[in-house]
């Protein structure tokens, strides 16, 4: 039984076919880069992984079980924008995930529990290089720092899958390279699987252990919606960085 298994997956909106007949098996610990032209269904696919959209036909299995119907703490997510909460400081943003877990009704931790959570959050912030900025609000941080914060926030709940939607799309090239290094080291250290949607093909090749190219293979000029996108290429990339799941 594989970690993630997708069988004959279709997504249609009315008559419009977005994704057609996608089948995939993904092993635990894989870093999957997803590239493709805009409008070719990679965002739809991403939303299905997240649990925001449901497939029209076909099966998605996680550990052999039905895919969760809503986003949950097993799948962390970082978007290009709006990933962090503007009304919370950096450390509050990170602690929030722990408070959601441990303070179901009060929604806030107090006393010793709070201190422990703050300590854990501070360690996480240090891991992404924001140790000295823990009490700043997101608007006081640069774009790259905000994405570091978003990573820290997502990883505090130790998700087994991290979903990234163009996470570095809005960053300068130099900062992008730093972020790549950070992401790879976190991925190796914390041992999660990654799906990253990007339109930067180089980035997809550089980071992934596997590259999926989404494209509309068939096209009917008279009825452009008749055929959906498929996985045109499924390219295994260098395996050397991959961690070994126990």
């Amino acid at each position: 039984m594989s970690f993630i298994s997708i069988k004959h997956l279709w997504k249609e909106y009315g008559n419009r076919v977005v994704l057609e007949n996608i089948s995939l098996d993904i092993a635990q610990g894989e870093f999957v880069s997803i590239v493709g032209a805009s409008g070719c269904g990679k965002t739809t696919f991403f939303k299905m992984l997240l649990g925001e959209e449901k497939p029209s036909r076909g099966e998605m299995l996680l550990h052999g079980k039905r895919w969760p119907l809503e986003p949950d703490a097993d799948r962390g997510v970082v978007f290009q924008r709006y990933s962090v909460f503007p009304h919370l400081t950096a450390i509050q943003n990170v602690v929030l995930g722990l408070e959601f877990r441990d303070a179901k009704w009060t929604t806030r931790l107090l006393g010793r529990k709070k201190n422990a959570a703050m300590e854990q959050a501070q360690t996480m912030l240090e891991a992404v290089g924001l140790g000295n900025n823990s009490h700043k609000y997101p608007h006081q941080l640069s774009g790259g720092m905000q994405q570091r914060l978003a990573l820290a926030q997502s990883l505090i709940r130790e998700p087994e899958i991290l979903l990234l939607d163009e996470p570095f799309g809005a960053l300068d090239p130099g900062i992008k390279a730093d972020m790549h290094a950070l992401l790879i080291s976190l991925w190796q250290e914390k041992q999660f699987s990654v799906f990253m949607v990007t339109h930067d093909i180089q980035e997809g090749f550089a980071l992934g252990t596997r590259l999926l190219v989404f494209d509309r293979v068939r096209n009917d000029p008279h009825e452009p919606d008749a055929y959906g996108a498929k996985i045109a290429y499924d390219i295994p990339l260098k395996q050397r960085r991959k961690w070994n799941p126990a």
Partner: protein, 248 residues
Amino acid sequence: MSASIARHAENENDRLLPDMTQLLDGIHRVALEEDKRTGDIILWTDTAASLRRLAWGVGISATSGLLFGIMTGMFPLFRSSFAPPVAILSLIPPMAILPILFVMCGLGEVSKVVLIVLGIAPVIIRDMQGRVQDLPHEQLIKAQSLGASSWQIAVRVVLPQVLPRLLDALRLSLGAAWLFLISAEAIAAEDGLGYRIFLLRRYLAMDVILPYVAWITLLAWLMDRSLRALHRWAFPWLRSTDDAGDAP
């Protein structure tokens, strides 16, 4: 002022445009001297009565605005059943149903508070709902991916981000709240700033009415100022954000 002087040149006891001494005398009478009949100082009892009604009305409106605004903004099911009645309610001119309120709630405090609530709550509810719906969808997904329940999202993500907007909405509806308060007091009350103004109108007592109007203006201005100060003090994260919009 010059019109006042001109009138006083003809009639020393002109009441319509009081001169300075008459005004000071009027202020002295209502603000410093005890009323002969009740032993109270009229200005203060009036102010206290009006502010109490205003506080109840605005407080209830703010609370219901937050509650219903967040509910209708967050949950489509709730919105589809609740938003249309609120929209219709907000179209009813509150003054038109004041007589109904007097019949239903009596002439006491309740009808005045209800008038203020009916006048401003629908607007606040709709404003809050809009603000909740304006929150980036990504934030809600993000919160869910951190394991949050709807309750936790409402308390930790939505509520703190719409509070600044609530203060803005309150500032904007304070004018309307005063309008409804004074109207209700003018029609049926035993004390209150609006009651006093309309009572003294019968005696053409401009020497008291004018200071009362100035006093109401001052109170309204102070409320506006303090809400703005509270806004700045309570929401440091709003300063110079582009994402959150809504800077004061």
